[in-house]
Amino acid sequence: MSVERKSLYLGRRGGIAHWFRSGEPMVWLNAGAVSFALLSVFGLLWLLAWHGLGHFWPRELLEFSVSREGELYTVLGEQVSRERVSTDQLRAVGVRTSASGKWELRRLVKRGNRDFLDTDFAWLLDSSIVEIRRPRAVMRVERLEWGNLYGRLLGIEDRGKPVATTAAADEAATWALFQALVAENEVMRAAIRDLEGEEVGRINFDMERLRLRERRLALAGEALPAELAERRRALEADYEVARQRLLTLYEQSERYSYRVALADGREVTLPLGQVVRAILPNDMGVLSKLNYYRVRLWEFLSDDPREANTEGGVYPAIFGTVLMVLLMSIMVTPFGVLAAVFLHEVAGQGRVTRVFRAAVNNLAGVPSIVYGIFGLGFFVYGVGGELDRLFFPEALPSPTYGTPGLMWASLTLALLTLPVVVVATEEGLARVPQSIREGSLALGATRAETLWRVVLPMASPAMMTGVILAVARAAGEVAPLMLVGVVKLAPTLPLDGNFPYLHLEQKFMHLGFHIYDVGFQSPNIEAARPLVYATALLLVVIIALLNLAAVALRNRLREHYAALDAPV
């Protein structure tokens, strides 16, 4: 009886041994690994979202009275963060602190007004803060230059003559007028941008083409036809008209200015034309804050960057990233498929083919910067330089294709991702059953017809898998791009209304490089930091979207050619 009981109810001693034998620890280990991976991914996304998306929310403005060495002064701004710092560290850098403890608290305050103060961020020790106020009528002004301005609106001037003042107890009316002028100003700025970007851009483009044409004729030793000079005169006349219109607009936008009282008591007059938008954060309800958040987030996604990429949006970088990845996919797919078809269908499966296959697979392990150097040396200087000599001699010495650009970047990344597509396609070809090929051949189809009509369609989902992997790798790549076409700031998009619409020779912006540039090359690191998070989040989202699109395409193909998974 007792023997039976022992075998049924495990004793305490046998318990652990039995538990290990049962395989349960392995299950827990597996589950743990999966949870860890998931936690890492979601933790990363949460971190990016928290820091990146929080940036666009209008924080309340605080006015700190700070005493430094017995002197009292005022700081107005947004509290960005608060942290603990050791007193030893503070003393070591020469900060005199009255605190006796080992640790002190300090806050980072964004006080803006870079044109009047030496830095726009300030550390305030908690022990030095005498009083914190939350004044209602302080405003936060985003400007085209010099970053944010914090202060109290005093009045508005029309060419130096006051038209409204808050002193006349007409605060609300002055604010309303200010907002109306800002809105009017925005319309004017949009008109200026359109005029500069499209009209003047087109004239410049045509002028350059005209110059190249003249030079080409001169190089060929031919006489310049009179119509060219006429055309040039017409363009110059167009330009003069556009310039006059621009001057008028600029003059209009410079008409108004506003007076502001800064936190330290100074009163300054600033041009209203520089204001992007202004708010009274301490006077806003949740709804208006939400609306403001929406506007700023949209600005981030749809606008050009300002102030060395630390303000404004990242639209050109989004555009450049997506366009580059699409071009890369278009280039890599045919090459990869052709190579895989050759390796798997055409070449005999001997030693040479095995060596080739191993070589292609090993290309995937070459560091990406090596591809960048190869791209620069071979594509840009070699192929590009030769193209310039052959087809664009009139533009020399300034290079057309012999300089880093969109085409070379896409081509370099296509080369980088080629092994992925080759390997995936080969696997797809290997999965097409021999019986299907024989069926086609037995009907009198040649090998080529069989390949084209049956085998390749059946392998197409595998090709898409290769493209998905290629997109995932290419979209996140930065190092090679720095050598073959990405720039910090591209003045125009590579796709526009000027013939031939897609400018493959142009340099472009890229989100990955943007992250690097804003995060590590920025003159104003504190201001740029949240944008790094936001841009990183955006890049992750865009890569995910590109991948989802490719996955959706693959699933449609799978449905169509379901033979491989169907039971027979």
């Binding site: 059953p433 019986s435 086609s440 037995a442 009198g444 379901a562």
Partner: protein
């Protein structure tokens, strides 16, 4: 049901259904009625001989069956008739295979053209992952026939000949992989006869099918013999007895005995053949 009547030797029938055999016309084969003849055929895979000195002829518009144990070379022989062996690395063929007056192993022969004249159905149904319609139209499209009306006509005719039309006429645009195994095999037969071959090679066409599907395939083969020369490889001796007019017994790469099915099963001349059909074979 009639009882077997003609044979006095009870052992010789070996339990086969002789009704089927005797219901068939047993016209003697004329010399001119030969569809394909094999002369001194040898085949080896990477130096290992698989067929040795095969010499025989296949009658036109009859069903000829190849039987024999696994690895005896019957599938290899079948695949010589439309040169499917060309696809196998290291396969060397010598001797002649005459289709009408042409040796199909001459280097000047267009293999695609040959395979249009000699169609083939494989052991496992291998429909393409396309619609039922496109499966049947495949061979025609390869030949550049793309006129819708013409295709419609041939697809219907072929599916009717393969006894599949009534089952699929309402879902011609559905994926062929949705059909059952037996239907798939009949679809493959329809696909094969759509290009109007002279000969149809069947390589164990029913071996992966259930008994009812097998029966339908056999009925179909019986129907088709009025229009096509059919060669069938089978493991199943009853099947050979049921569907074929001529039977060849092969063993170890040699053609041991070739005769009318009736005689081969009832009165084999070779000891090996008798051992095999009575089940005494290894």
């Amino acid at each position: 049901m009639d009882k077997p009547d003609t044979h006095d030797k009870p052992v010789a029938t070996h339990g086969f259904d002789l009704d089927a055999l005797h219901r068939r016309p047993q016209a003697p084969i004329q010399e001119a009625d030969i569809a394909l003849s094999v002369e001194r055929l040898n085949l080896s895979y990477s130096g290992k001989p698989a067929l040795r000195d095969i010499h025989f002829s296949i009658p036109r518009r009859r069903v000829t069956a190849f039987i024999g144990p696994s690895g005896c070379g019957k599938s290899s022989l079948l695949r010589c008739f439309n040169r499917m062996n060309d696809l196998v690395d290291g396969c060397v063929v010598s001797g002649r295979v005459m289709l009408e007056d042409t040796n199909i192993y001459l280097p000047t022969v267009d293999v695609s053209q040959l395979r249009r004249r000699v169609g083939m159905v494989f052991q496992k149904p291998n429909p393409f992952p396309m619609s039922i319609y496109e499966n049947v139209a495949y061979g025609l499209r390869i030949q550049g026939i793309n006129r819708r009306r013409h295709l419609d006509e041939i697809v219907e005719k072929s599916l009717r000949s393969a006894a599949l039309w009534d089952e699929v006429k309402d879902r011609l645009q559905d994926n062929a992989l949705g059909l059952s195994g037996g239907q798939q095999q009949r679809l493959v037969i329809a696909r094969t006869i759509a290009v109007e071959p002279e000969m149809v090679l069947l390589d164990e066409p029913a071996s992966s099918l259930d008994p009812i599907s097998t029966l339908r395939i056999e009925e179909l083969i019986y129907e088709l013999r009025s229009k096509y020369t059919i060669v069938i490889v089978t493991h199943n001796m009853q099947q050979a007895a049921r569907v074929s007019d001529m039977t060849a017994f092969m063993n170890l790469g040699r053609l041991v005995e070739y005769d009318s099915t009736d005689r081969l099963f009832t009165n084999p001349q070779q000891r090996q053949t008798e051992d095999y059909i009575t089940g005494r074979y290894g």
